[in-house]
């Protein structure tokens, strides 16, 4: 085994012989694909629930790491390291989520003589604490969203009064956020003092469950803000570049639903400013490999720093489609010590003048009519769109079991076109081709969104758009009526005629005596008589 340690930006040969991918689902498959393209042997890991999963079968080899529960499998550092050692992998790619931003995994890799594909453990530690990141950005002269710079003393003596005092100072509405957070988890909006303490405690509990750290802080909730983020790459030689920005304003429960690159409506000058702010933050932590700096864009046109995600993002693909740089290839080369490629530097040089437009929609096993409640199940039909300018990164196929143990993201549908209108038309076309059966997905939400004039004009890009405009109760009955027609037709076709032996009747009343419920939430009521 020989690792290439030369410092040329040449991309011949391969960065590693064997890489272990410490993740599952669509992102594991995406990294496996990059490995295969680079001639790297890809080693997957799987829990018992994922033994037959797409990613486990796509890899050259897959190692069992434990039971379905993430805490006993994908989140176990020692299981990942043991699998890497047993398979003699030279590097570990963590994907996103799970252990991707945990210094513990980076440390364990180093101790085992394995390369961690990502920023250094110190960078992870500095950025993983969102409060510390806010302080660093402030010190570097990068404006941050107004809020607290220290963790709230949850449960401490007289803490309620102190927390309320902080919230009053910041001004309502405020967001309660987890210091160790990410992906919108452990985050809550609070509109008045009456809800504050409940929200802080719930957020702390959720954060403790999700991240093992219950520290939370407050940030001003900016109405009508946009979420804009910058893709960063850094090499071991100290060069840091921005590969362009993404707009990820369309969110629910602070989780992204739609992402696009570039961010619509920015001037090239604004883009340059934003990219430079992101690079400043990255410099303060000596960023290597890939990361994303997130900002709020206020209605007044200010960029306020939110946090840095020190890993590959779910939505990295739209940047790839616009910049023509394969970010996972680049991550692997950077991890083996190579400087940024000529191709990447050239893409960074034109990042403020993007030549194309790409849009991604996240297809998750969630019911958008029930406040996006998870809807796990078995995928009975899975037919993906194709054709010019369409990319589907999926982690499932027909027959896949979508387990409640994991994130409900099934696939990312991406489209690219010469400009935003072209990309939008392509997206609408591709969504018409997407056929999914067996569980409810977010597809109808995306179809609705793409048909909205204020989304097409980009005026509707704001983080509170979904809450203000998404009214599924107005859409579902129309679709249901059509579904009833289709079912009647199919049933009539299937049987040729009504079942025999039933005497004919006149017109029935047709009135609904159905006692079923239709409401947000994950509980269903059934009538029972004792």
């Amino acid at each position: 085994m020989s690792l290439r340690k030369d410092s040329s930006s040449d991309r011949s040969g391969r960065p590693f012989e064997r890489v272990l991918i410490a993740n599952r689902g669509e992102i594991a498959l995406r990294i496996i694909r990059a490995c295969r393209e680079l001639g790297i042997e890809a080693i997957a890991v799987h829990s018992d629930a994922d033994a037959q999963a797409v990613h486990a079968r796509a890899a050259d080899r897959s190692m069992r790491i434990g039971p379905a529960s993430p805490g006993e499998s994908y989140l176990r550092v020692e299981a990942i390291i043991a699998a890497a050692q047993e398979s003699r992998a030279q590097a570990v790619h963590p994907g996103y989520g799970f252990l991707s931003e945990q210094p513990a995994l980076a440390d364990a890799c180093t101790a085992a003589g394995i390369v961690f594909v990502g920023p250094s453990r110190d960078t992870l530690a500095q950025l993983g604490d969102k409060l510390a990141a806010r302080s660093r950005a402030t010190a570097a002269g990068v404006p941050v969203v107004p809020g607290t710079l220290e963790a709230l003393p949850v449960g401490g003596a007289a803490y309620e009064a102190r927390v309320k005092g902080e919230a009053d100072r910041i001004g309502y509405p405020v967001l309660v956020k987890a210091a160790a957070g990410g992906g919108g988890r452990g985050m809550r909006r609070v509109d008045d003092a009456g809800q504050l303490i409940e929200a802080v405690e719930a957020a702390a509990r959720e954060a403790a469950a999700a991240f093992g750290d219950g520290a939370v802080y407050l940030e001003r909730y900016v109405e009508r803000a946009r979420h804009v983020e910058v893709q960063l790459l850094g090499d071991a030689q100290g060069t840091i570049v921005a590969l362009g920005e993404r707009d990820c304003s369309t969110q629910r429960r602070h989780q992204k639903l739609v992402e696009e690159a570039p961010a619509p409506g920015l001037s090239n000058e604004q883009r340059r400013t934003l990219h430079q702010l992101a690079i400043e933050v990255a410099r303060t932590v000596g960023l290597r490999n890939a990361a994303t700096a997130e900002f709020l864009l206020t209605p007044e046109g200010d960029f306020w720093f939110l946090e840095v995600n020190a890993r590959l993002q779910v939505e990295h693909g739209v940047t790839e489609l616009v910049s023509d740089v394969d970010l996972v290839h680049e991550q692997l080369w950077l991890a083996c010590g190579r400087p940024l490629s000529e191709r990447t530097l050239a893409a960074a040089a034109r990042a403020a003048t993007p030549p194309r437009h790409a849009i991604e929609v996240r297809l998750s096993a969630e019911n958008p009519a029930r406040d996006f409640a998870p809807d796990p199940g078995v995928i009975s039909v899975w037919r993906t769109p194709s054709g010019p300018g369409v990319r589907v990164d999926a982690g499932v196929e027909e027959g896949s079991v979508v387990s409640p143990s994991y994130d409900p993201l099934l696939a990312k549908l991406m489209v690219v076109g010469d400009d935003r209108p072209t990309a939008l038309a392509r997206l609408a076309r591709a969504m018409d081709e997407f056929e999914i059966g067996g569980l409810q997905t977010t597809l109808p939400f995306h179809r609705w969104l793409v048909g909205r004039p204020d989304f097409a004009s980009a005026e509707g890009l704001s983080t509170d758009y979904v809450g203000r405009h998404w009214r599924p109760a107005e859409l579902v009955p129309r679709a249901a009526l059509r579904a009833a027609e289709l079912a009647a037709r199919a049933a009539a076709d299937g049987r040729g005629a009504a079942p025999p032996g039933i005497p004919s009747s006149g017109a029935s009343s047709g009135s609904s005596s159905n006692s079923a419920w239709w409401r947000a939430g994950i509980a269903e009521a059934t009538e029972r008589r004792p």
């Binding site: 597809l443 579904a483 009833a484 079912a487 005629a497 239709w518 994950i522």
Partner: protein, 160 residues
């Protein structure tokens, strides 16, 4: 076969029932772009009652639909109503719609609750989901306690 034979088409979880005559059905447009119709497995009961179950997706919205003879369905409804007439005091039992863990329980047995009041929270797919009372009443039975793991369709509580 009589042309005025009617079908009862019921959509699970939606108060939607249509009863077209078989002659009207032929006029419904066939499945087009973004539409999907699939036959689902039938239980022995379904077969005995001549019921068909279908999965229908329209514009991404997924429905489970039952199709049967309207006349048969009415006879069954009538029988069920007369059986129920002997009892009184309807109770509503809330069931988990996804597997998860009960992380919060805000009520106790015997407690009076108002419509929309928070009852409990279930954590699933790393998210905490609150469940609210569908109407006011008394919690007559709790089937779970904090920390309990629940499967889809498990009983959570009954409101009388």
């Amino acid at each position: 076969m009589n042309d005025t034979e009617r079908l009862r088409v019921t959509i699970a979880e939606l108060p939607l029932v249509i009863q077209p005559a078989t002659t009207e059905v032929a006029a419904f447009a066939p499945a087009g772009r973004g539409e999907l119709v699939r036959e689902l497995a039938r239980s022995a009961d379904d077969r005995a009652a001549g019921r068909r179950r279908l999965e229908v997706v329209v514009g991404g919205w997924r429905f489970e639909v039952t199709v049967e003879s309207a006349l048969r369905a009415e006879l069954r409804d009538r029988a069920a109503r007369s059986a129920a007439a002997h009892h009184s005091g309807a109770h509503i039992t809330l069931r988990a719609q996804i597997p998860g863990r009960v992380v919060r329980l805000w009520v106790v047995e015997g407690e009076q609750v108002e419509a929309n009041q928070r009852l409990l929270a279930i954590e699933a797919m790393k998210m905490e989901n609150e469940i609210h009372a569908p109407h006011s009443g008394t919690i007559t039975k709790l089937y779970v306690e904090p920390g309990a793991l629940v499967e889809r369709n498990d009983e959570l509580l009954t409101i009388g």
